[in-house]
C-alpha cells in the first residue's frame, strides 16, 4: 500500500497506512503532549491532551485526538493553534482542580508527567476550584501503595494489568466524577490477584501508584552497630541504574556499584549474579533429571516472583511442573545466613541482608512464608527497588557515575556471564542450556549463545539438540504471553520441555522496580548492554565458576543434594482469589 500524504502545520509528511496523526507528527519532529497514550497499550483517547485541529472540507475545523485519529490522505492538521493550546491548558487545569497539588512532598516530584506539562503550558493559575475526589490510600501490600487521589484516570495501569499482564487486578469503578481505578470490591490490593509486578507503577504518569519504600528501614539498619549489613544487587541494575544519574539507558556501571554500596556502609557486597549461577546449577540439573526421567514437562522456571504468584492464582495446576529452585535473590539470602555466617562465625540473626532488585514483586517474595528459615529468620530482610537504591545514594551524597571502580566480595560475589543473563528475557534459559548441554553431552562443544532465545518477541520458541535429546524450548515475557502458552499447553496443543517465564516485558531489565521511564526502546538498550557485559565475561558458564564449584565442594555437596534441597529449593501453593 502506498503511503498517506498529509500536511501538519503546513509541513508535508508521508506516513505508512495505519499511522495515527501522532505518528505523523512524530515523523516530522512535532512533539504532541500525551498522558494516556502508550505504544505498548491499546489506544485510549481518555485524556484529550493530544487534541489537534483538523480542517473539514467546508473550511471549518474540528479537534481530534492525535493518538487515535488515523492519518488520511490530504488531511490538513494544525497541532498548535490558539484554540488547541487553550484546550490543553484547560484540560491541565481541570486535572489539577481534582488533584492534591502537593508536588513538594510527592515522590514523583521532578519525575511527574503532569508536573512537566504544567511547566510546558505555563500553568500559573487554576481557574476551576471545587470538590475533589477523596479515596483511602491502600498500603496493604509489601511492594506497592495506591494513592487514588493522585490518579488522573489515564487508565494505563488498568490496561497494562489487563492487556500486557492478563492479571486484571484493577479496573475502572463507578461512573462520571466518581470514577476511579481500583481492585474488585474496593478490596485491599493485598487480597486480590495482583502479582505485584509493578508494571502499573511504570505506566503511571503521576504518583497514584508508588513503591512501598524501605529506604528509612535500611538507613536505620545501616546506623545500627549491632547489625551486620550485607547487600546483594541484581544483574539488570548495572545496565539501568545510570539512568537515575542522567546517563543514557544501557550504560553499564558494574564496577561503580560495589564502591557505592561500601560507601553506604554495607560490610559485604554480594552479587545476585552468583545466586543466579547457583540457580543454573540447581535448575539445570532439574532439567537434566526430567529429561532422563522423561518428564514431567515442561520444566517451568521460577525465578520471577511475579510469575510465581501469577501461576499460583491463575494456573495452580502447573505447580507440579514448576522448578523447585529458589530465585537467585533467595539463594543468596539462604547462603548468606548459613554458609557465609558459618564461615565468618557470625550469628545469622545479626545479619541484615538488603536486596537491591529491579522488581517490586521481590519485596513480596522475600516475605513469603516458604522463604522463612529455621528459627524464623527471613533469608532476605528487606528489598529496595532500583529507584529506591537511587534515592538512598542521593541521600548519601553518592554520585554513582563518578565513583572509582570496585569489586564485589569474593565470597557470594563472584559470578559468570550465565548469572548475568538472568536479567533479560530468555537469558535464564540460555544460561541453563550452557550448563545442561555440557552435563548431557560432556564431550560436545555446546554453543554459548542461543539466538532463538534472544530478541524482544513476546513468545520465543525453538528446539535445540542436546546430546541425544531434542529439547523444545519456549521463553515468554509479559504474563499475558505466559497465559497464552499455558493455555495451549493445557489444551495439549503445545509440546514444550523447558519454559522460561518472566513476568515483566523484557525480563528484569523491564522490571517494575526499574527507573522511570521504562519504555520498549529503553528496555532494548538495557538488554543490549547485558549481552555486551556477558560477552566480556571471562567465564560464561555457571558450572565453570570457581565460586560455584567451591560452595558445592565445601558446603552443599552436589546439585540437588539433600542440603541443596533444604536450602535452595522451595514449594508453591494455590492462592485465592482464583484468577481468570
Amino acid at each position: 500500500m502506498t503511503d498517506i500524504a498529509l500536511s501538519i502545520n503546513g509541513i508535508p509528511v508521508e506516513v505508512p497506512p495505519g499511522s495515527t496523526l501522532l505518528d505523523a507528527a512524530h515523523a516530522i519532529g512535532v512533539r504532541i503532549p500525551t498522558l494516556c497514550h502508550d505504544p505498548q497499550l491499546t489506544i485510549s483517547g481518555a485524556c484529550r491532551m493530544c487534541v489537534v485541529e483538523v480542517a473539514n472540507p467546508d473550511g471549518s475545523t474540528r479537534l481530534e485526538p492525535a493518538c487515535s485519529y488515523p492519518a488520511r490522505d490530504g488531511m490538513s492538521v494544525r497541532t498548535n493553534t490558539a484554540e488547541v493550546r487553550n484546550a490543553r491548558r484547560t484540560i491541565i487545569e481541570l486535572i489539577l482542580a481534582n488533584h492534591p497539588r502537593a508536588c513538594q512532598t510527592c515522590v514523583r516530584n521532578g519525575r511527574c508527567q503532569l508536573q512537566s506539562l504544567c511547566r510546558e503550558y505555563s500553568i500559573d493559575e487554576i481557574r476551576y476550584e471545587g470538590e475533589k475526589r477523596c479515596f483511602e490510600v491502600d498500603t496493604s501490600t509489601v511492594a506497592l501503595t495506591r494513592h487514588p487521589d493522585y490518579c488522573i484516570l489515564c487508565g494505563k495501569c488498568v490496561k497494562v494489568c489487563r492487556e500486557v499482564q492478563g492479571v486484571h487486578a484493577l479496573d475502572y469503578v463507578n461512573r462520571g466524577f466518581n470514577t476511579i481505578t481500583m481492585p474488585a470490591f474496593d478490596r485491599d490490593l493485598a487480597h486480590t490477584v495482583c502479582v505485584l509486578c509493578g508494571q502499573c507503577l511504570l505506566k503511571c504518569p503521576v504518583a497514584a501508584i508508588r513503591d512501598r519504600s524501605y529506604v528509612d528501614e535500611v538507613e536505620e539498619a545501616l546506623d545500627d552497630p549491632q547489625r551486620i549489613c550485607i547487600v546483594q544487587i541484581a544483574p539488570s541494575i548495572r545496565a539501568s541504574v545510570g539512568e537515575l544519574f542522567g546517563l543514557p539507558p544501557g550504560t553499564l556501571l558494574t564496577n561503580k556499584i560495589p564502591t557505592a554500596l561500601r560507601r553506604l556502609g554495607f560490610r559485604h557486597v554480594f552479587d545476585t549474579d552468583f545466586g543466579a549461577d547457583m540457580a543454573v546449577m540447581e535448575e539445570g540439573h532439574e532439567l537434566v533429571e526430567r529429561i532422563r526421567n522423561a518428564g514431567p514437562f515442561p520444566l517451568i522456571t521460577s525465578c520471577s516472583p511475579g510469575w510465581v504468584k501469577y501461576m499460583e492464582h491463575f494456573f495452580p495446576d502447573f505447580i507440579p511442573m514448576m522448578s523447585s529452585t529458589k530465585s537467585p535473590q533467595q539463594i543468596v539470602g539462604a547462603l548468606t545466613k548459613t554458609f557465609f555466617a558459618q564461615r565468618m562465625g557470625i550469628d545469622p540473626a545479626r545479619i541484615y541482608l538488603v536486596s537491591i532488585m529491579p522488581c517490586s514483586a521481590k519485596k513480596y517474595e522475600s516475605q513469603r512464608p516458604e522463604t522463612r528459615m529455621d528459627g524464623g529468620l527471613h533469608e532476605v530482610d528487606v528489598v529496595l527497588t532500583t529507584r529506591e537504591f537511587g534515592d538512598l545514594l542521593r541521600l548519601h551524597e553518592i554520585d554513582l557515575p563518578s565513583l572509582p571502580d570496585g569489586d564485589f566480595d569474593p565470597i557470594l560475589g563472584e559470578s559468570t556471564g550465565a548469572g548475568l543473563m538472568f536479567g533479560v528475557t530468555g537469558g535464564m534459559m540460555e544460561a541453563s542450556l550452557r550448563t545442561v548441554a555440557t552435563v548431557l553431552d560432556p564431550k560436545g562443544e555446546p554453543p554459548l549463545e542461543f539466538p532463538l532465545l534472544r530478541g524482544t518477541s513476546g513468545i520465543k520458541r525453538g528446539s535445540v539438540i542436546v546430546g541425544d535429546h531434542e529439547v523444545h524450548l519456549c521463553a515468554v515475557h509479559g504474563l499475558g504471553n505466559a497465559r497464552k502458552i499455558l493455555e495451549s499447553i493445557r489444551s495439549g496443543k503445545e509440546n514444550i520441555h523447558f519454559l522460561e517465564v518472566m513476568a515483566c516485558p523484557g525480563g528484569c531489565v523491564g522490571g517494575g522496580g526499574q527507573p522511570l521511564p521504562t519504555t520498549d526502546e529503553i528496555r532494548k538498550r538495557r538488554i543490549e548492554a547485558m549481552y555486551f557485559e556477558d560477552r566480556g565475561k571471562p567465564i560464561r558458564q555457571a558450572h565453570r565458576s570457581p565460586a560455584v564449584r567451591q560452595i558445592y565442594r565445601d558446603f552443599l555437596g552436589e546439585p540437588l543434594s539433600h542440603k541443596a534441597h533444604e536450602l535452595l529449593h522451595t514449594t508453591y501453593t494455590p492462592r485465592t482469589p482464583r484468577g481468570f
Binding site: 487534541v51 487515535s68 481541570l94 470538590e131 484516570l153 466524577f177 474496593d186
Partner: protein, 825 residues
C-alpha cells in the same frame, strides 16, 4: 475498607440459575447481574465472587461493571421503594420539591434506606411518564400528577404498614402472559394447508390476507375472511369493541381499574362475551388520559374513571348513545375530530394506540411484515439499501446521519460477520417516543430491524432497550417469540434461506449507552464507556465486526418506506429532512402527549395547534428540544421549521424528540443546571473534559443559583463549554454544554439577574427566594394547613406569618392561597 454485604446469602439459587443458563458467555454478565439482583434484591459480594468464578470473568471487571450501571445495588433495599422521577418534564413541573419533602419526612438522603429498613428513597432517571408529570414510582407502580399532599399520604401509609416479611424483592410491573387468541393466522384452514408451527408456510402472509391460497376452496376463504374480521375488530360476533389505552401515562392515571369495572358491569348485564376488549399502546393524547375508545361510533372518551363505566355501558354499549360529557369536547366525538390529532401526520404511529401490540396478527392484518416478505421474496438487499438511500431517511436518534449511507458502508465491508443493533436506550429525560412505539407497535420495529439486517447482511441483530422500560422489553420479547413462530425470524426466514437472529438486550441504567460505541460495549457485557471514532461501528463495532446502530424510530420508518417507496416517504417533510418526526410533548403546555408531524412543521404549530398553547394565564418562554444534549428555542424564534439543520443553527438539536415547554415559572438558569447535572451524573468518566469539565460547570451553576455567582463565572462557563464541546470523546460530552450555551445565548439576562441582582425572576431558585404573606391575607388557614413543615402561623381571620428560617420554600402556600396573598420575593 472493602465492601461487605450485610449478610451471607444462600448461593444455591444463584448456582442453580447459572447452571441452567444455556448460552452463558461473558457477554451476558449484565443479564446475569440483573437476574441475580432479582434473586436477592441486591448484589451480595459473595454472589458477585461466585459469578466471577463461574463465568471466569476477572472479579475486578465484575465490580467495574456492577458499579457502572445505576440499576445495580450492593446493599439491600427497604421493604418499599419510592422513586422520584428526575426527568425534565417532572422537574419543570416541580418534582424537586418531592425530594426535599421526602428528605424531611424520612430523614434520609436519596439513595438511602430508612434505618428500620422500611423505605428506600431514590431519584430515578426519566421514567417516561412525562405526559402526567410530575411522577413518582412507588414499588414499581407509576403515580402520575403527583402532589405534595398525595406523596405525604402515600409515604405515611407505607410507614404505618406492618413490616413486610420474607423477600425484600421489589416487584417489577407485572405484565400478563400474551393473551392466546383462539384462532390465529398460523392456524390451518383445512388439511390442505401446508403450514405448521415447526415449518410455517413462507407464503402464508399473502394467503391469509389476500386469499391467494395454494388451494381454492370457498369454505377456506370464508374461514379466512372471518379471521381477518376478528383480527381487525370488525367482527359482527361482538356488539362493541372497547379500546383501552395501556400506555404508561394512562396507566399511571388510573386506567388499570377500568377494564375490571367494564367486565363487572358487562357481566352484570350478561353481555360480557358480546364485547371485545383491545388493550392498545399509547393513544397519544396523554394529557386527557385515561382514554377509552369504543366502537360503534368510535367515541373517544377522556379522563375516564371507574365510576364512569356503568354509564358508558348503559348508554353507549346497550343503547348505542354517545356519552357526551366524557368526550374531548362537544365537537369532537372521534379521535379524528380532535385538533391535537388533526394537525398531525401519523405514519410511524399509525398502529400505535389502534392495535393490540401483543398480537402479531393485528400487525399483519394492517399490512405488517409485507415489506419484509416482498423484499426477501422478490427484492434484494441492495434494493433495500437503495430505497432507503433514495428516501433520504436520517437517523431519528438525534444525529441525523443518513441511514442508507450507514447501511451502505456496513454492507461494503469485506468482513462478512456483521451485526445490526436497534438503539432503544431512550435515555433523554423528557422523551418517551421510542417507548410508546415499542410498547404500542413492537412488530413494526422488528420488521424494520429485519429489513436492516437483510440489507447489510447481518445474521444477528440486537435490540438494546433500557431497563427502565420493562413493559417495552416484555413486549419486544413477546413479539420476537411470535415472529419466530410465524417463520419471520430465525433460521431460513420466510423460506428464503436467510438466517436472522434477534436478541433483546436489557440496559442497566446508563444514559451514555445511548451513544453507539458505549452501547456496543454494554452489549459486550462491559462498562458502557465510549470508544474512539473512527473507526466507526459500521466498520469496527460489536466484537470488532461491522455493526450498524440505528434508533427505534428509524427502524419503524423502514417498513413504511420499503412498502410505499422512497417518493411516498419524501412526500412530506423537507428536502434535507424528509418524512415525519415523533415528539413527546410535555411541560408547560395545555396538551401533553405523543405527536408525529412532518419535518419542517414550525415549532409554533406544534406548540399551539397540537399542544394547545400555554396553560391558562401563562405564556410559553421556550421550547427545549434534544434533552440534555439540546438547547432552548425562545418564544420569538418559534417560527423555526423543525428539521435537523435549522434547529442546529439556533443552537438547539433535534435530539431524539423530547420537546419540553417552559413558561415564566421556569428559571432558565436552573433549567440549564438541571440538564448539566444530568449529563454530569451520566458521564461515563473516561475523558477528562466531560468528567471533570461538566463537574466544574455544574459547580459554577450551583453558585449562580445559590446567589454566589461572579460576573467572571460566565466567561469561565463559556470557556469550559467550548473546550468540552470540542474535545470530549463522545456525543454525550460534546453536547453536554448545549443547554448552558443556548440559555446563555437567549436568556443571559436571567443569568445576570441571578448574579448581579440576586434575583430569580421565575421564583425557582430557593436561595434567592422568600415567600411572604401580604397584608390582605384573610386568615383562611389554607396555607398553614398545607405547609409541610408547619412554619406558617396566625389567628384565624388575621394576617398569617411565615417563619422564614424554617421555611423549606416548597411553594405549597403560594399555590393554595385562594386570594393570591402569598408573594414570592
Amino acid at each position: 475498607m472493602s465492601i461487605q454485604g450485610p449478610d451471607t446469602p444462600d448461593l444455591q439459587p444463584l448456582r442453580q440459575m447459572l447452571a441452567a443458563w444455556e448460552d452463558l458467555e461473558p457477554r451476558k454478565l449484565i443479564a446475569v447481574l440483573q437476574k441475580t439482583q432479582g434473586l436477592y434484591g441486591y448484589l451480595p459480594v459473595a454472589a458477585l465472587d461466585f459469578i466471577a468464578e463461574h463465568m471466569r470473568i476477572p472479579e475486578a471487571r465484575v465490580y467495574g461493571v456492577t458499579t457502572f450501571y445505576s440499576q445495580f445495588r450492593l446493599t439491600p433495599q427497604g421493604d418499599h421503594v419510592i422513586q422520584v422521577c428526575d426527568g425534565t418534564a417532572c422537574n419543570v413541573k416541580g418534582s424537586g420539591h418531592f425530594v426535599d419533602e421526602l428528605v424531611s419526612l424520612l430523614g434520609i438522603r436519596p439513595g438511602e434506606t430508612t434505618p428500620d429498613g422500611k423505605i428506600t428513597f431514590q431519584t430515578v432517571a426519566c421514567v417516561g411518564a412525562c405526559g402526567v408529570a410530575p411522577a413518582v414510582v412507588v414499588d414499581g407502580e407509576v403515580h402520575g400528577r403527583m402532589t405534595s399532599a398525595a406523596l405525604r399520604k402515600t409515604v405515611n401509609a407505607l410507614l404505618e404498614a406492618p413490616p413486610r416479611s420474607g423477600s425484600r424483592k421489589v416487584a417489577l410491573p407485572v405484565v400478563g402472559a400474551p393473551a392466546r387468541k383462539a384462532r390465529t393466522f398460523l392456524d390451518r384452514c383445512c388439511g390442505k394447508c401446508k403450514t405448521s408451527p415447526d415449518n410455517p408456510c413462507p407464503d402464508f402472509l399473502r394467503c391469509r390476507l389476500e386469499g391467494e391460497s395454494c388451494h381454492d376452496d370457498p369454505a377456506c376463504e370464508a374461514y379466512r375472511e372471518e379471521l381477518r374480521k376478528l383480527v381487525r375488530h370488525t367482527s359482527e360476533a361482538f356488539e362493541a369493541h372497547v379500546f383501552l389505552c395501556k400506555g404508561l401515562t394512562c396507566d399511571a392515571s388510573g386506567e388499570a381499574g377500568i377494564r375490571k369495572a367494564f367486565e363487572n358491569e358487562l357481566a352484570r348485564h350478561g353481555i360480557l362475551d358480546k364485547v371485545e376488549f383491545i388493550e392498545t399502546g399509547c393513544m397519544g393524547l396523554c394529557e386527557v388520559g385515561p382514554i377509552v375508545q369504543i366502537s360503534p361510533h368510535e367515541a373517544f372518551y377522556c379522563r375516564v374513571r371507574a365510576e364512569d363505566v356503568p354509564e358508558i355501558v348503559e348508554r353507549h354499549i346497550l343503547k348505542h348513545e354517545v356519552v357526551e360529557r366524557l368526550l374531548y369536547d362537544r365537537d369532537c366525538r372521534t379521535e379524528a375530530d380532535i385538533p391535537f390529532y388533526k394537525a398531525q401526520v401519523r405514519r410511524v404511529l399509525s398502529n400505535t394506540g389502534k392495535i393490540d401490540p401483543e398480537n402479531i396478527d393485528e400487525y399483519i392484518a394492517r399490512g405488517g411484515y409485507r415489506a419484509l416478505y416482498d423484499a426477501i421474496r422478490g427484492g434484494s438487499p441492495e434494493k433495500v439499501v437503495e430505497t432507503i438511500l433514495a428516501s433520504g431517511l436520517r437517523g431519528r436518534g438525534g444525529g441525523g446521519f443518513p441511514t442508507g449511507r450507514k447501511w451502505a458502508i456496513a454492507r461494503s465491508q469485506p468482513d462478512p460477520e456483521r451485526y445490526l443493533v436497534c438503539n432503544a436506550d431512550e435515555g433523554d429525560p423528557g422523551a418517551f417516543m421510542d417507548r410508546s412505539v415499542l410498547e404500542g407497535d413492537p412488530h413494526r420495529v422488528i420488521e424494520g430491524i429485519l429489513l436492516g439486517a437483510y440489507a447489510i447482511g447481518a445474521r444477528k441483530a440486537f435490540i438494546y432497550c433500557r431497563a427502565e422500560y420493562p413493559l417495552a422489553i416484555r413486549r419486544l420479547e413477546v413479539a420476537c417469540e411470535q415472529a419466530r413462530a410465524y417463520g419471520l425470524l430465525g433460521k431460513n426466514l420466510l423460506g428464503a434461506g436467510f438466517d436472522i437472529d434477534l436478541e433483546v438486550v436489557q440496559g442497566a441504567g446508563a444514559f451514555v449507552c445511548g451513544e453507539e460505541t458505549a452501547l456496543i460495549a454494554s452489549i459486550e457485557g462491559k462498562r458502557g464507556m465510549a470508544q474512539n471514532k473512527p473507526p466507526f461501528p459500521a466498520e469496527h463495532g460489536f466484537r470488532g465486526h461491522p455493526t450498524c446502530v440505528n434508533n427505534v424510530e428509524t427502524f419503524a420508518n423502514v417498513p413504511l418506506i420499503i412498502a410505499n417507496g422512497a417518493d411516498w416517504f419524501r412526500s412530506v417533510g423537507t428536502h434535507n429532512s424528509p418524512g415525519t418526526k415523533i415528539f413527546s410533548l410535555s411541560g408547560k403546555v395545555r396538551l401533553t402527549g405523543l405527536v408525529e408531524v412532518p419535518m419542517g412543521t414550525t415549532m409554533r404549530q406544534v406548540l399551539e395547534e397540537i399542544g394547545g398553547g400555554a396553560p391558562e394565564a401563562s405564556a410559553i418562554k421556550a421550547a427545549q428540544t434534544g434533552g440534555p444534549s439540546g438547547g432552548c428555542i425562545p418564544e420569538h424564534l418559534m417560527n423555526v421549521a423543525i428539521d435537523y439543520d435549522s434547529l442546529k443553527a439556533l443552537g438547539g438539536m433535534m435530539g431524539s424528540g423530547g420537546l419540553v415547554v417552559t413558561d415564566r415559572d421556569t428559571c432558565m438558569v436552573a433549567f440549564a443546571r438541571f440538564f448539566l447535572s444530568f449529563t454530569q451524573h451520566e458521564s461515563c468518566g473516561k475523558c477528562i473534559p466531560c468528567r471533570e469539565g461538566t463537574k466544574r460547570m455544574l459547580e459554577i451553576l450551583d453558585r449562580i443559583v445559590a446567589g454566589e455567582g461572579k460576573m467572571s463565572d460566565l466567561d469561565e462557563l463559556r470557556n469550559l463549554a467550548a473546550v468540552i464541546r470540542r474535545t470530549s470523546a463522545c456525543g454525550l460530552g460534546q453536547s453536554a454544554p448545549n443547554p448552558v450555551l443556548s440559555t446563555l445565548q437567549y436568556f443571559e439576562h436571567e443569568y445576570l439577574a441571578h448574579i448581579r441582582d440576586l434575583r430569580c425572576t421565575a421564583g425557582v431558585c430557593k436561595s434567592l427566594l422568600r415567600y411572604h404573606i401580604l397584608d390582605f391575607c384573610r386568615g383562611c388557614t389554607a396555607c398553614a394547613r398545607k405547609c409541610p413543615v408547619q412554619c406558617i402561623s396566625g389567628e384565624r381571620g388575621q394576617v398569617f406569618v411565615i417563619d422564614q428560617p424554617r421555611c423549606t420554600k416548597c411553594g405549597e402556600c403560594y399555590r393554595v392561597c385562594p386570594f393570591n396573598a402569598v408573594a414570592k420575593v
